[in-house]
Amino acid sequence: MTWQEKARVQTAQEMDRSLRRMAHEIVERNKGLDGVVLVGIQRRGVPLAERIAKLLEKFEGVLPPQGKLDITLYRDDLSLRYPQPLLRGTDVPFDLSGRKVVLVDDVLYTGRTVRAALDALMDLGRPASVQLAVLVDRGHRELPIHADYVGKNLPTSQAEVVEVRVAEIDGADEIWICEKVEEQA
């Protein structure tokens, strides 16, 4: 079984516009950037958090601190997976206590990754608050979790996957909906 591109949902320019709007919303909601830090969830949340941070610097003149969060050891499906997913590392080089943490990820789907991220975050410190920013919310939540900042709401079927591609990792900025194709015998 392979995945085949079905439709492109966002181009690089559209993605950039979404990120800009999300950055403005972060400033608006937090009444500035006082105490705001960005934490990207490995893997594609990391470059997205960096980009939002740069946009925030452009708009407000302050570059908020950024960290990387690896949620692998907190996943709830480790005992269902073989081989084990590999660690990419957590790097949050500042104290989270009292900060307003904006968690950044590419796609919000079941909510299980965010659940794991919240546990991972709480083991690192005690933030004043945690907000969630995602580039795509594709629905089908399995846990009571919602995003505070959404780039694009995208109704999908569970047979599809949403692929966010970022220049830093994939060579281009694009969002695609892909679907399963049964291989010919």
Partner: protein
């Protein structure tokens, strides 16, 4: 590249890319050791039994910490005072552990081959060799190469490692030679002829009778523990004489490369195989090895203990 092993019995089961993957994962595990909360839920609900038929403090504690930091439930099964002293066979012990629901067994035994036997008898539990006789001690080797790899910009290619001491009775040396060579280092063995196996070539290392020549130009000088009862067996005359001829003091270390690392699997005998000035000196990695051991064992347990049957 993904990790497909469920057990670790000996270093030779691993390819170079697999070993490098494990070392890379250990780096992330070591990060955890610096946090106020070191415990993660990766092995929550898994039961690990530490089955030690020989006394061991550091290896057992290191495994135990690794298991606990990963959130596993841990049972320490020591041979003394257990059913073994009442005559239970190893096979029955294995089945008993499995009946109790062990997901992994970490075994140390005086007889070589016991971990292989257990793997055969256990239906589903992972088996980790924590030292079998004078045969193998793979996790010690992994933590040793990891410690050097970390300090040498993640590459052991072309390094010269001199291992000095009681090679004959050492399970550490067999695994270490394999691990260092797999990652591209060259290994020289030194020590009294009476403490050297006849076929050092079969280990894949060169025997150099003169300790000064052995450490000449070495990047790493690795001292093996001298068990004092060997003197009583007549294998070397006295501790003092051993120290003068084979012990690592500042004079011997001066023959190695400038800044050469000093390592030892512990526990150390000060004034026998190693002088205090060397053990406590700026190039000693001995305590770093201890810390690395926890990280490497965490990486190994994590990678091997996936829940799905392969």
């Amino acid at each position: 590249m993904s990790w497909m092993h469920r057990h670790l019995l000996d270093v030779d089961a691993l390819s170079r890319p697999e070993m490098e993957l494990l070392l890379d994962q250990a780096v992330h595990m070591e990060d955890l050791l610096d946090r106020p909360i070191k415990k993660v839920p990766a092995l929550r609900g898994k039961l690990v039994v530490n089955l030690f038929f020989e006394p061991s403090t550091r290896t057992r504690v290191s495994f135990e910490l690794a298991e606990k930091f990963l959130g596993a439930d841990v049972v320490n099964w020591a041979a003394s005072g257990s059913s073994t002293s009442k005559g239970e066979t190893l096979r029955d012990t294995a089945w008993t552990l499995e009946a109790m629901g062990a997901d992994a067994v970490v075994v140390r035994h005086g007889m070589p081959g016991v971990p292989w036997y257990l793997r055969e008898k256990l239906r589903k539990a992972s088996v980790f060799n924590a030292g079998d006789g004078a045969h193998a001690h793979p996790t010690q080797a992994l933590l040793d190469v990891y410690t050097v790899w970390k300090h040498c910009n993640r590459s052991l290619d072309g390094l010269r490692v001199a291992i000095v001491g009681d090679v004959l009775h050492s399970r550490v040396v067999r695994s270490d030679v394999q691990a260092f060579r797999l990652l591209g280092a060259e290994v020289v063995l030194a020590g009294p002829r009476t403490l050297m196996p006849l076929e050092t070539d079969a280990l894949g290392a060169v025997y150099e009778p003169d300790p000064v020549k052995a450490v000449e130009g070495a990047d790493v000088v690795y001292l093996l523990r001298i068990q004092k009862e060997r003197a009583l067996e007549g294998l070397y005359p006295t501790d003092d004489e051993y120290h003068r001829r084979w012990g690592a003091d500042e004079e011997l270390m001066a023959r190695a490369k400038k800044g050469a690392f000093v390592m030892h699997p512990g526990p150390i005998n000060r004034g026998v195989e190693i002088a205090s000035a060397v053990a406590d000196g700026p190039n000693s990695l001995i305590l770093d090895q201890v810390r690395s051991g926890v990280a490497v064992r965490m990486a190994l347990l994590y990678l091997c203990m996936g829940g799905m049957e392969a």
